[in-house]
């Protein structure tokens, strides 16, 4: 009879977000929430019940929502503008650029249900372009936490930071990975596992798949370094250069198009500062077929086994290695 192990408890990072938002709201009356008829999907019901006058629901009007957020900040408030990430970034990108980033408005943009989270709802609701769209904007830190611990820590940091922030959250359940009490440091990757054969870098839900892939690799005697790189901008240049120096190859994975996201940001550093074999896993530049988030991530070569295989292929490309037959 096989031993029964309890599966780890899964957390929806939105719960950590609103719990921290309500804590901040209780401490600071300037904290307000702005949304686009997304009280339910942004889980703002509790905030609304406690402070109905501080919940600004503009209805289904994302351009107005982001502009209103900038105006609220100008009026001395600390707005968290919450909406499905696909609409928050896609529909109101020019407002994010001009009203928030260029104006340097103290607004926290919270993209909910990002990446492939809306799975079966299809490509209109997938937010796999948002890193690319937002990370080109000056003044706008772009952050995708990997679990509820990091989500709470990043929200707390964002509230204390004077300036715009884009937080990209998921709704897919994930276990806690970072230790309780973890302090979020923007622009700094977390070393989750050390190794010297290859470095696996991810953020958001993909960090968990990287950890599982590292377990599979370890079983074959391959030691992978795993970095959780929540901040896509500013990218952690130091950690990338160190990864190349110590491990000689970098494999990235993300709930995003392979074009323009975390992998691209890392590749920009690798090309300029530390050339080395590298591979970027993600949505391969197509509109996804029907399927759940988990199904699609597997489909696009990001199951732990596929990630492990990609890592082995990459290791074979390291200088001085014989090519794989």
């Amino acid at each position: 009879m096989n031993a029964v192990t309890n599966p780890p408890k899964l957390h929806d990072c939105r719960d950590a977000f609103v719990a921290m938002l309500e804590r901040l709201g209780a401490e600071n009356p300037r904290v307000v929430a702005v949304c686009n008829d997304s009280v339910g999907s942004s889980k703002l019901g509790g905030f609304k019940a406690r402070w109905p006058e501080r919940l600004v629901n503009v209805g289904i009007a994302e351009q107005n929502m982001v502009g209103v957020g900038a105006g609220l900040a100008n009026g001395g408030l600390l707005p968290f503008v919450c909406a499905a990430s696909c609409f928050l970034t896609g529909r109101s990108l020019e407002q994010v650029k001009a009203d928030i980033a260029y104006s340097n408005a103290n607004v926290k943009l919270v993209g909910i249900s990002s990446g492939m989270a809306y799975g079966e709802l299809g490509p209109t609701h997938h937010s796999i372009e948002d890193f690319a769209w937002t990370r080109v904007l000056p003044n706008l830190p772009v952050i995708a936490p990997c679990d509820s611990v990091e989500t709470a820590a990043a929200v707390e940091w964002a509230a204390g930071f004077e300036g715009p922030v884009f937080l990209r959250l998921s709704r897919v359940g994930v276990p806690d990975l970072l230790p309780a009490g973890h302090k979020f440091v923007p622009g700094k990757a977390n070393l989750l596992r050390n190794g010297d054969d290859v470095t696996l870098i991810a953020n958001g839900t993909l960090t968990h798949r990287m950890m599982k892939a590292a377990d599979l690799l370890a079983a074959e005697g391959i030691e992978a370094r795993v970095l959780n790189m929540a901040t896509v901008r500013p990218i952690d240049t130091e950690a990338i250069i160190a990864a190349v120096r110590d491990t000689g190859a970098i494999l990235t994975a993300e709930e995003h198009s392979v074009y323009g996201g975390l992998g691209s940001a890392i590749a920009e550093v690798v090309v300029a500062e530390a050339p080395a074999p590298m591979k970027i896993l993600g949505v391969p530049g197509i509109f996804a077929p029907t399927g759940s988030a988990e199904f699609l991530l597997d489909e696009f070569g990001m199951s732990p086994a596929a990630v492990a295989q990609a890592a082995k292929d990459l290791i074979a490309r390291k200088p001085g290695r014989a090519p794989t037959p």
Partner: protein
């Protein structure tokens, strides 16, 4: 300050604007001339602001949503003491903080960065809503172009301002009847604006937007609901050959035209 004094200041601003467009070889002179009377009334009579405390939390807010007429705003702000008047000569020059659209992080008195159209009104709704939440007593003003009202984001904001009951918000539409490429009525004619704003639940006042005795009371009027002023203006107002012609949206006068225009504006001084 009385209407006579405001008219004199507006003429000085027009002259400086003409000179700056001529010297810089660029600008949006038609739409600048149409709204300078309103800017003058705002900055020299209506707005509770101080160049010594441009970030005072209780200040009135003004957003120039038609950011392409930044030059008119710069000159007005300079005349009101927010930046040195001689800095206007740097307009559009390399490294000048006075580029073609206003920047709130570089120029005191500018509240938010505008340029792309349809941005100012949503931000103004947020400012007015903030005052409602915090209990602040400032009033928020925003000026859009009439062609700019073709941007859908404005109507999202108009609807939400009514929903929020923002009687601390005044929208001024600079209705000069022309946009960049043609007359509004040949492009996408939203006029008449008044019944549309009224249907959205706003109080509406229609004025001659180049007539100071009408401008001041309209700006000072307080209403139970959000207030829209439809300011009927003339593109290129004050310069006979520019007036009401689409060509002068962003054309630059040649030396001879400059001389004539300067003479016309000086005559009125």
């Amino acid at each position: 300050m009385q209407p006579n004094d405001l008219e004199r200041i507006a003429r000085q601003i027009r002259r400086r604007d003409l000179q700056a467009v001529f010297e810089a070889g660029a600008g949006h002179i038609g739409g600048e001339m149409s709204c300078i009377d309103i800017l003058t009334a705002l900055y020299f009579r209506v707005l509770r602001i101080s160049p010594d405390a441009p970030k005072d939390p209780g200040r009135d807010r003004f957003i120039l949503s038609k950011g392409h007429v930044a030059l008119a705003l710069y000159i007005t702000l300079a005349k009101r003491g927010f930046l040195p008047e001689d800095e206007i000569s740097t307009f559009l020059k390399p490294m000048s903080r006075l580029n073609g659209h206003p920047n709130c992080n570089k120029v005191a008195g500018v509240e938010t960065n505008t340029g792309p159209l349809g941005h100012g009104l949503p931000v103004a709704v947020g400012m007015a809503k903030a005052a409602r939440i915090t209990g602040a007593t400032y009033h928020t003003y925003v000026m859009t172009g009439d062609g700019e009202m073709q941007e859908g984001s404005n109507w999202e904001a108009i609807s939400s301002a009514a929903q929020f009951g923002l009687n601390n918000l005044t929208l001024i539409i600079d209705h000069n009847r022309f946009q960049q490429g043609a007359a509004l009525k040949e492009t996408n004619d939203l006029a008449p604006f008044a019944p549309k704003l009224a249907a959205f639940g706003w109080d509406v006042t229609e004025i001659d937007g180049n007539d100071m005795p009408q401008i001041v009371p309209a700006l000072e009027k307080r209403t139970a609901r959000p207030h829209a002023i439809i300011a009927h203006t003339n593109k290129g107002h004050g310069i006979s050959f520019m007036q009401d012609t689409v060509d002068w949206h962003h054309k630059v006068p040649n030396a001879e035209q400059y001389k004539i225009a300067l003479a016309e504006l000086s005559e009125a001084l």
